[in-house]
């Protein structure tokens, strides 16, 4: 039986090889037993592969596409197949290296083909996505720029322009970001990426300190797509910006109609986080869990002993740090160990916050060691993040530019680092009109304003430069313990005295 199967396999292989050889030699269709031209066969395989990708069937997709690459190497769709392979690895398999190899092959071997522009785009995008340093961001930018220069008529140009804008934002160049995104909006108004680009225009204008222009831009987007995804998101942004900048001073009032309680879940709350689609995550040490609430109803609950802090990874996964372990979404739990004085590995058991970087590295802050440790994706200790000085860190966040934001209670400051550990800037929690001594939580809004929660005095909003913008809720809160920002800029605060979440809007 085995021999028969083997024989069939051989026969299939021979036919495939013959077809490939025929294609290589340029023989006509009449020479092939199936009477189908190799180009046509390859096209069919490509369509099957694409269909499998759409259905999320990675293996089937790769089988079809790899057959084109190996058996129909001389057909005119081989570059398209390689591009699809790269996308399949990227989207379905999350295998960045294989994706990069496939895209690289297209760019190297088929620079004149249809797929080359797409390959350049993805090469740039992968570089940008994983960029930990300024140089890597610039490298991504160079790829996008190359695409626009070499393939000015390609359908990938608007995406490359959009991605260039994102790269500039990552590099903190907001004006350049606006310029690139505007090119998409002006020059490719019907492209799929145009609404995202217009949203980015608003975002970068806001980041660049031009809230009025940002408001106009978001509203323009909303006028064009009132019911679409981007129109809805734009409404959140106009609401948030108007609240902050519409009047002479930011205008927040306690929403008397909102008081959220959920039994043990809203007792001893250590942290809260809200996603862009309005799902509120609450980490409760009383409940020993991290629970998600959508429209006031619990939609998910993850158990975690003594949860301490919540954050989102660069990929958007929820990172829940417990005292001795870190949970990533609903998938897996990670523990970390560092050598003690005798060079014996001891697990961290006073974790206060954790973060998963784009390159797979971990940042874990530990109160026992008063340090932030950096681990590789296999949890091997790399170094102390941000220098050797002792730190008492209660929060680790990633901001929109990919910077690591550290709330240091001991130093009473917020520090910004690039993913490699290079400090970018520092904001002291003492300044003109404010002196925050019992800071328990922080959040960053899309304008890079710092929202600091002080156990005694409520919410303090500081500009990216550390200037006081507003203070909220000092009198109306009993014992604020955690805060979260909603997509429309409302501030949710957990009041530990009343065991409930209140809202300022």
């Amino acid at each position: 039986m085995k021999a028969v199967w083997k024989s069939k396999g051989c026969l299939r292989g021979m036919i495939r090889a013959a077809a490939a050889a025929a294609a290589t030699l340029g023989l006509g269709a009449s020479m092939l037993p199936a009477q189908i031209l190799p180009d046509e066969q390859a096209r069919r395989l490509l369509e099957d592969g694409r269909s499998a990708i759409r259905q999320g069937k990675l293996k089937q997709a790769l089988d079809n596409l790899n057959t084109i690459v190996t058996g129909f190497a001389n057909t005119d769709v081989v570059d398209d197949a390689l591009l699809e392979i790269g996308q399949a690895h990227f989207r379905l398999g999350d295998d960045i290296e294989k994706a990069r190899a496939a895209f690289g092959e297209v760019a190297r071997r088929y620079p004149q083909g249809n797929a080359a522009a797409g390959a350049f785009y993805y090469l740039g995008w992968l570089t940008l996505r994983n960029a930990a340093t300024r140089a890597q961001v610039e490298e991504a930018l160079a790829q996008f720029s190359r695409l626009c220069r070499l393939y000015p008529k390609s359908e990938w140009v608007p995406r490359a322009l959009h991605a260039s804008g994102l790269a500039h934002r990552r590099a903190g160049r907001h004006a350049e970001c606006v310029q690139f995104q505007r090119r998409v909006v002006f020059e490719y108004p019907r492209d799929d990426v145009a609404p995202a680009a217009q949203y980015e225009v608003g975002r970068c204008l806001a980041l660049g300190g031009k809230p009025a222009q940002a408001l106009e831009e978001y509203q323009r987007l909303r006028n064009q797509h009132p019911a679409g995804e981007w129109g809805v998101r734009a409404l959140d942004r106009t609401t948030a910006l108007w609240r902050l900048y519409g009047g002479e001073t930011p205008s927040f009032t306690l929403d008397p109609g909102f008081a959220f309680t959920a039994g043990n879940v809203t007792k001893n709350v250590r942290d809260m986080l809200m996603t862009e689609d309005g799902v509120l995550w609450i980490a409760s040490s009383k409940a020993g869990s991290v629970a998600a609430f959508a429209d006031g109803r619990m939609s998910q609950s993850l158990s975690l002993m003594k949860p301490q802090a919540l954050a989102f990874s660069a990929q958007g996964d929820l990172i829940a740090a417990g005292e001795s372990a870190v949970r990533v979404g609903s998938r897996d739990i990670h523990t970390f160990a560092v050598p003690d004085d005798r060079e014996e590995m001891k697990p961290l058991d006073r974790i206060s916050a954790a973060l998963l970087l784009m390159n797979g590295e971990w940042l874990v802050s530990d109160l026992r060691h008063k340090a932030i440790f950096r681990f590789d994706p296999e949890h091997k200790l790399l170094d102390r993040f941000g220098g050797r000085s002792e730190r008492v860190v209660s929060r680790l966040l990633l901001d929109d530019e990919g910077a690591v934001v550290v709330l240091d209670q001991r130093e009473r400051c917020v520090e910004f680092f690039d993913p490699s550990g290079q400090r970018l800037r520092r904001i002291d929690l003492k300044g003109a009109g404010f002196d925050l001594r019992r800071v328990v939580d922080m959040a960053i809004d899309p304008q890079r304003n710092l929202n600091i929660l002080d156990e005694r005095s409520g919410v303090w909003i500081l500009t990216p430069e550390g200037r006081l913008l507003a203070s909220i809720g000092g009198d109306s809160l009993g014992k604020p313990q955690a805060l979260a920002l909603s997509p429309d800029g409302a501030i949710l605060v957990y009041d530990g005295k009343l065991d409930r979440v209140v809202r300022f809007q």
Binding site: Y188, P189, R190, E216, Y218, Q219, R222, N223, T238, G246
Partner: protein, 748 residues
């Protein structure tokens, strides 16, 4: 004989000095013969119809021989010409025997006999001379030799030969003017003096329209004159017409028979005055002959006069005086306006000024009206009734030349004609353009002069946009059109689909669309696209509001400078609660409400500030709108036709300047930076300096183009000038402020 030789030699010497001239004369003679001209232009048979190629070759050969023979004849050895004449005679007589000798062949043959006879005479062979002359006279009895051209002795000899062969015939008829034919060959019109006729027996036929044909047999003897007199019998009537005015066409039973003319005989003046006629404008008594017996319909027609129809019964073959007719003048007037104005009016091919115009004193009836403008034209067939005052609004439409179908494969070539027909049928449905089909030879010739073919106008890799642009401009001027359409038939789906490429004059790249040739939905696809008129303006409130959650009404973020909202006193920071009684939940609702109204319409608003509300009456305005740079839904070349029409149609106006601005954006769409630069420069010059879209907008785009062209310093200057225009925007009057865009520009 010697005297004769001397005379002939002396003449020959004179002639010899002009030998070349004589040769040329021979050529001229032959080619100037009407028959020869006809033959050269179009082959004719013996009776001047089609001459077969073999006969033409024979004639050509005979002509060449005649030229050669004439040279010899005029030379010192004249006798050598005789052999050559023999060869010509052999050729032409052969054709004559086969009844294939054309009329001009007979002329040549007569010429040959003339010269050959004289050559024989000059060497003393009189018998031979007589033989040749006899042949000549038998062929052409009326042929003569003149003493001022030929030696008198030869002339005398020729006449003596002729006397032996020729008699004379004279025919007269009552009434005269009858046609006389001899054995079926036309001879002359009666009455005539004796005509030379070859001696022999003949049947003479005398015929005249309206009379019975008569025949007589006659015998003509040499030197004798025969006379025939015939009284013709009438078989049809004649009508005699008098009209006021003259020049009236008389149509009998639908056929034009005669046009009245001349002036009334003085003796009849009083009689016609009594009938109410003006003798000075009345025609002479004009005959329409040969009217058959029975009832007839007569119509009196003259341009610019009312036609009159009457009936008339002919009972016998005689002259009838029809009752005099006075036609009434029939005039109308035409009032023409066009958009744009200033278009040239061409009525029935005659220029009639420019629009707007009032044309009176026009003849009633049908006319071909063409209102022509640099931006396009309006063409219509109109019919004017008597005393009608017709007012016509003449929308000027761009003209699009359909240049034909190209085959993209060998297989497709067979279907070109059918595809061409089908595309033509589809294009006939286009309403917003004049579709014309210029002669393809003219198109090809114009393109050849630029070293291009039709295929070079289609978009393709490696094409030269600058050459295409020049070619479209040149073709546009040559064909008097504003754009071009070329169809391409591919190997796939032959006769199902074609690719249509649309090029505006001055464009460097065509827009292409697949068009179905089998789709019966007339409004589908390319036709709809071609008829789609882009709107480059919209109603404008000048309110820039934003949507905010949990907020009653719409906060006013800013008001457009100098716009309707500012004029109405609305300020930034106020809250817009309702418009025309409708509570506003989103800015989109407000925009829809405004878009549904026309400029100058009123909008009743309730606005609120610090808890106090007030009512504001706002008069809406209009904002120009910029064309998007890369909108796949736009046929940019179609849009360019409209923009060019605006530009050429209203030169010096603001709308023309905005058309310039948008033409610049179209050029930018095609990557034609040179053209974009030109348009933006002109727009920056022509547009007003004011908030919203205007000079600042054009200067900003100019900066973008200069930057792309690598002129950083000039770009910066342009950006700065743009930012200096207070409140200048892009996209529309509500669009992003130019000064903000400039601040984002590198180096600004």
């Amino acid at each position: 004989m010697l005297d004769h030789r001397k005379h002939e030699e002396s003449r020959l010497r004179r002639v010899h000095r002009r030998r070349l001239c004589i040769v040329a004369w021979a050529f001229t003679l032959i080619s100037s013969m009407p028959e020869a001209r006809d033959c050269a232009a179009q082959p004719s048979s013996a009776s001047d119809s089609v001459v077969p190629e073999s006969i033409q070759a024979e004639m050509q050969s005979a002509q060449e021989l005649l030229t050669h023979a004439t040279v010899e004849f005029e030379g010192p050895s004249q006798s050598r010409s005789i052999v050559l004449f023999d060869r010509i005679v052999e050729k032409l007589e052969g054709l004559k025997r086969q009844e294939q000798l054309p009329l001009h062949g007979e002329e040549i043959l007569a010429q040959v006999y003339d010269l050959q006879g004289r050559a024989y005479f000059n060497i003393g062979l009189q018998e031979k001379t007589a033989q040749v002359f006899r042949r000549l006279i038998q062929m052409k009895p009326q042929y003569t030799l003149h003493k001022d051209q030929v030696s008198p002795k030869i002339v005398a000899f020729f006449n003596s030969v002729k006397k032996e062969l020729v008699g004379y015939l004279a025919v007269s008829s009552k009434p005269p003017g009858a046609r006389v034919a001899l054995d079926g060959t036309f001879l002359s019109i009666t009455d005539f003096f004796p005509i030379e006729v070859l001696a022999g027996d003949y049947s003479v036929e005398i015929s005249r329209e309206g009379y019975q044909t008569e025949s007589r047999n006659v015998s003509i003897a040499p030197r004798i004159t025969e006379t025939v007199e015939v009284a013709l019998t009438r078989t049809a009537a004649s009508g005699f017409f008098v009209t006021q005015p003259t020049g009236v066409e008389i149509w009998i039973d639908g056929a034009l028979r005669v046009v009245t003319g001349g002036s009334l005989h003085p003796a009849a003046h009083e009689e016609f005055k009594a009938l109410g006629f003006d003798p000075a404008q009345t025609s002479a008594r004009t005959e329409a002959p040969n009217i058959l017996l029975g009832p007839h319909t007569i119509e009196f027609r003259k341009r610019c006069f009312e036609s009159i129809q009457t009936s008339f019964d002919v009972e016998e073959a005689k002259d009838y005086d029809i009752e005099p007719v006075r036609l009434q003048e029939s005039l109308a007037s035409l009032r023409l306006v066009s958009d744009p104005p200033g278009a040239k009016i061409i009525l029935d091919g005659e220029p009639k000024g420019a629009t707007p115009a009032y044309l009176d004193g026009l003849c009633s009836g049908s006319h071909n009206l063409e209102v022509r403008h640099a931006a396009g034209k309006f063409v219509q067939e109109i019919i004017l009734a008597r005393n009608e005052e017709l007012s016509l609004d003449c929308p000027i439409r761009p003209s699009l030349a359909f240049l034909g179908v190209l085959a993209e494969s060998f297989a497709a070539e067979r279907y070109l004609t059918e595809a061409d027909t089908r595309v033509g049928i589809k294009l006939a449905e286009v309403r917003s353009l004049n579709i014309v089909r210029p002669p393809i030879e003219r198109v090809n010739q114009a393109l050849r002069s630029e070293g291009l073919t039709l295929a070079d106008l289609l978009p393709k890799a490696g094409g030269d946009p600058e050459r295409v642009r020049k070619a479209t401009e040149m073709l546009s001027a040559a064909l008097d059109v504003q754009g071009f359409l070329i169809a391409a038939l591919s190997e796939q789906q032959i006769l199902r689909n074609v690719t249509l490429s649309l090029l505006a004059a001055g464009s460097s790249l065509a827009d292409t669309r697949e068009a179905s040739l089998v789709d019966t939905d007339s409004k589908a696809g390319i036709i709809e696209d071609l008829d789609h008129l882009a709107s480059l303006s919209r109603t404008w409130s000048g309110l820039i509001t934003i949507d905010v959650k949990h907020q009653r009404g719409l906060p006013v973020l800013r008001v457009g400078q100098g716009g309707p909202a500012e004029r109405a006193g609305i300020r930034a920071g106020e809250i817009l609660i309702s418009a025309d009684g409708k509570t506003l939940a989103s800015t989109h609702e407000l925009l829809e409400l405004v878009a549904a109204k026309k400029p100058d319409a009123a909008l009743r608003l309730i606005v609120e500030q610090s808890g106090t509300s007030r009512v504001v009456e706002l008069t809406l305005g209009m904002t120009p709108v910029e064309v998007a740079l890369n909108d796949q839904g736009i046929l940019y070349n179609r849009l360019m036709l409209d923009l060019r029409q605006e530009l050429d149609g209203r030169p010096g106006t603001e709308s023309a300047a905005f058309a310039r601005l948008n033409l610049g954006l179209c050029a930018l769409h095609f990557g034609d930076l040179a053209a974009a630069h030109e348009h933006f420069l002109a727009a920056a010059r022509d547009l007003p300096r004011r908030p919203g879209l205007g000079r600042g907008t054009a200067l900003y785009h100019l900066g973008v183009v200069l930057e792309r062209l690598g002129y950083s310093k000039e770009a910066l200057e342009s950006y700065r000038a743009a930012a200096a225009v207070e409140g200048a925007t892009v996209i529309d009057n509500d669009g992003p402020l130019v000064k903000d865009l400039v601040s984002e520009a590198p180096g600004a």
